[in-house]
């Protein structure tokens, strides 16, 4: 074979591929490098200089501003909406189903989908600045019922958490089994708001649930857990004389926190807590609430069991919590209602409350 041909072949191929590689690298440096971007938050209240190229959600999280999210940036939960007045670019197809026409006019965007490519002007609600991240250690995992565990976690030395009773934390699982990425889910805080160095969560096992399976089968005492929070609009307003509290299953968590909050602050409100369970096996914290009832006459605990067995010798209310609610609450005057439970229970109870005169302004519940 002619030597000059081989030389020409190899040489030209090398040159051309070399030239193309250089062109691609240069293009990448120029095009993919978004440089430093200025984020102007709340009309100049906060100004951040960040490295562009990542999603707004993760960029803000890196700056310790935690926007609520339940799906980790996959555009399935629609919770990470942020008002972006300038710099977000056109609405993406992945955002379209989640942003209503009204929200589009207000410049609401899905922060997990938009990339920081240049300077931006954002409006972030004040309360989100209170949200911080905590790397806690699991102090104890206690079985409360056959499918509910109590997780008690200690904050790192010197760190404290301040939350309003009723709010929730985001709990981050680690990859396990077939779950390859970190997942996070929201759980209401059940510990007292006065306890600033611990967080307690009540976690009920959901069949097929990624996070609840993690807590029930993988998590051990002394493991490290990442939490962020506190989040949520579910907290005491108290512009009334009596609080009607209704919960089922692990929905007891924020109610427990609320009850202790009222007592510890010495607030005058009367409280009636209707706790709905399907069977006697689903009841927990019975002794604790009975004790609170004894110590504080302003609080009444009304557990309702839907189907007690004869051998349970159940003497409390029977039937669904809606029955007790219907019979024992006469009107909505001077009352506020706080509910936490599954969607079906919430809908049934809210209907009864509204029939009794409660309004959207006096009924509070978390819908996540």
């Amino acid at each position: 074979m002619d030597f000059s041909v081989i030389l020409r072949t190899v040489g030209s191929l090398a040159l051309i591929s070399g030239a193309l590689s250089i062109i691609i690298s240069v293009a990448e440096k120029v095009l993919n490098n978004y440089g430093t971007c200025e984020l102007d938050i709340n009309q100049g209240q906060k100004k951040l200089s960040v490295q562009g190229g990542s999603s707004l959600l993760s960029t803000l999280a890196a700056e310790k501003i935690f926007i609520p999210s339940a799906c980790g940036g996959k555009a399935t939960c629609g919770l990470c909406k942020v008002q972006v007045l300038e710099g977000a670019g056109p609405l993406l197809p992945t955002e379209e189903p989640y942003i209503s026409q009204q929200e589009r006019e207000e410049h609401m965007r899905l922060s997990c989908q938009i990339k920081v490519k240049g300077n931006m002007r954002l409006m972030i609600p004040e309360e989100l600045f209170n949200i911080r991240e905590y790397i806690c250690r699991v102090e104890s995992i206690t079985d409360m019922t056959y499918d509910i565990k109590l997780l008690r976690m200690k904050l790192p030395e010197g760190e404290t958490v301040t939350f309003k009773a009723g709010q929730f934390m985001q709990f981050y699982t680690k990859p396990y089994g077939k779950v390859k990425e970190e997942v996070f889910r929201a759980y209401s805080i059940s510990s007292k708001a006065s306890e600033h160095d611990h967080i307690e969560l009540l976690i009920r096992l959901v069949p097929g649930g990624i996070c609840t399976t993690y807590v029930h089968t993988v998590l051990q005492e002394a493991d490290q857990v990442r939490l962020s929070g506190p989040y949520g609009d579910f907290y005491l307003r108290g512009d009334c004389e009596e609080l009607i509290m209704i919960a089922g299953g692990s929905g007891l968590a924020p109610i427990r926190s609320l009850v202790y909050d009222v007592i510890e602050k010495g607030l005058p409100h009367k409280m009636r807590f209707f706790f709905g369970a399907n069977t006697v096996r689903d009841l927990y914290y019975m002794e604790e609430f009975a004790q609170i009832e004894r110590d504080y006459p302003q609080f009444k605990f009304i557990p309702c069991v839907a189907r007690p067995e004869p051998q349970d010798n159940w003497t409390g209310e029977t039937g669904f919590v809606t029955v007790a609610l219907e019979n024992q609450v006469d009107s909505g005057d001077g009352k506020e209602a706080y509910l936490c439970g599954s969607p079906g229970m919430l809908d049934a109870c809210i209907k009864i409350l509204k029939d009794k005169g409660f309004t959207d302004q006096t009924i509070f519940y978390d819908k996540f």
Partner: protein
Amino acid sequence: MPQISPFIIFFASIITSNMILSNFLGMCSYLSVSSEYKTATGLGMAVTLVLVLTTVINWAVYEYVIVPLEIEYLQYIIFIMVIAALVQILEMGMDRYMPDLHAKLGIFLPLITVNCAILGVTLFMVIRHYGFFQSLMFSLGSGLGWWLAINMLAAIREKLKNAKLPPGISGAALSFIITGIMAMAFIGFSGIFTIQ
């Protein structure tokens, strides 16, 4: 350089020498992305854009690099490298400067690099010794013809979604039958202009 008007090449490449219906190039993405009309339009646009850019640049590479260096036997490798590099740069550029276009077509760009219609158009241009303007019109027409064909298939498939079909025929089998019938229909255009 053949003495055909670029405009005749343009129309011929859409109707009588359609990339899919006459030459059967670019079939795999054509069949897999034609189930929904919206995505078919997106892919058609992306293919047209990439076709025009790559063919024009490949023409320049052929005229000013390959022919002078007498390395025509390396043309396949070089064209493919250029196509791959170009699609990469195009994707980065679109993400930066045309984000809404990137949102519509961006996901298809990696799929297009290995679309044989792209290399096919470049090679046809080389074989037929087209000049610059002829190559431009040829690639634009081929892209639009490909887009037309995939849109037609997507529209027909959408209409057939609610039809009662013999079991097993929906999906790939049906797409092939429809494409075959469309190709036969397009044969009816042959003779209006001939470029191959």
